[in-house]
Symmetry: C2
Amino acid sequence: MSTKIHIGFLIYPGVTQLDATGPAQILSLVPGAKIHMIWKELEPVSTDAGFSINPTDDFATCPDLDVICVPGGTGQRPMMADEEFLAFLTRQGTGARYVTSVCSGSLLLGAAGLLKGYKSACHWAYRDLLPMFGAEPVAERIVRDRNRITGGGVTAGIDFGLTLAAELAGEETAKQIQLFVEYDPAPPFDVGSPERAGPQLTESVRSMLAAAG
Amino acid sequence: MSTKIHIGFLIYPGVTQLDATGPAQILSLVPGAKIHMIWKELEPVSTDAGFSINPTDDFATCPDLDVICVPGGTGQRPMMADEEFLAFLTRQGTGARYVTSVCSGSLLLGAAGLLKGYKSACHWAYRDLLPMFGAEPVAERIVRDRNRITGGGVTAGIDFGLTLAAELAGEETAKQIQLFVEYDPAPPFDVGSPERAGPQLTESVRSMLAAAG
């Protein structure tokens, strides 16, 4: 009898790697967890940060997942129309205990039909696209609606990972993990959200994101 | 004329991947930055989180680095006595503009002779080993002493990355990056340091770490 908790990150070329690697670090410390990095094939997957990650599973060999998590990234846009990708996501998302995302990954959950009628988080710059998929955008770092747990932009994946760790293994274990990874954040500036950053900085980042495609 | 800023992470089997991937995400957004993931050879490097990362450079082909960063991890111990690894680190560390580490990576900087007479951070559970290498442990999230910038455990790499981004590209750019990655942390529990976690939780994590080797 397997007591493994299969936690899969659906990656793709141009993924924002910290969206996946942040929660993967946290969740790999959950007792019994097995982390899967999943792509169509086992070839290296390029990330947005100058290096590539090797998938552990392809679409054919990936087991049924207990948790599926979809990260965001500049490569997310082509995946919105990739039938093979969306079909895998829909199939796994329909059976998984938790259907989750970080950053603009929630747009991919939406495109796979998995957020219809659900509240969802997203990176602040893309949050207003969620209603296209019948989802209700919520400006929070972690949004939970039934078995959907979605995180905001990039670094929200760490808070998300700890929230999910508590769900999977209890608060005490999640607290151990938090201390293990010394998560006592001290951002050097107080500009982590548009509300705190103000309109000028927010506009400059919107321009950067638009330029990045 | 190249205006590239070469930022290298020296990885190894059993590296705690978030130690490297956190700052790599931040620093990849610095204008002109080129991220290098470096190991002895170009074969995939296993991480502690169930997947492997592909090096971009081996020891022979890696250019002179502007920044060298050494992450920690369970695989750090064998590297403490790996002459080839330490020789590469000493060579690059002697020439780099910034010599840096995250988590128990500072013990590797120490073993390479790069922290003698310097103040340094480290993961809280291993901080008391720093004096073995002539370094002075400091219980802070980011410690700077001349051109050495060292971070505390795992997630400190994100704060470290933003601190270094400000150093390399100015505060305004670092603030843009912080907003880009939505770094507005909201840990679900307040137990990210031994002081906040209290003695019982701290002892349980010390036992976990001891069991992990």
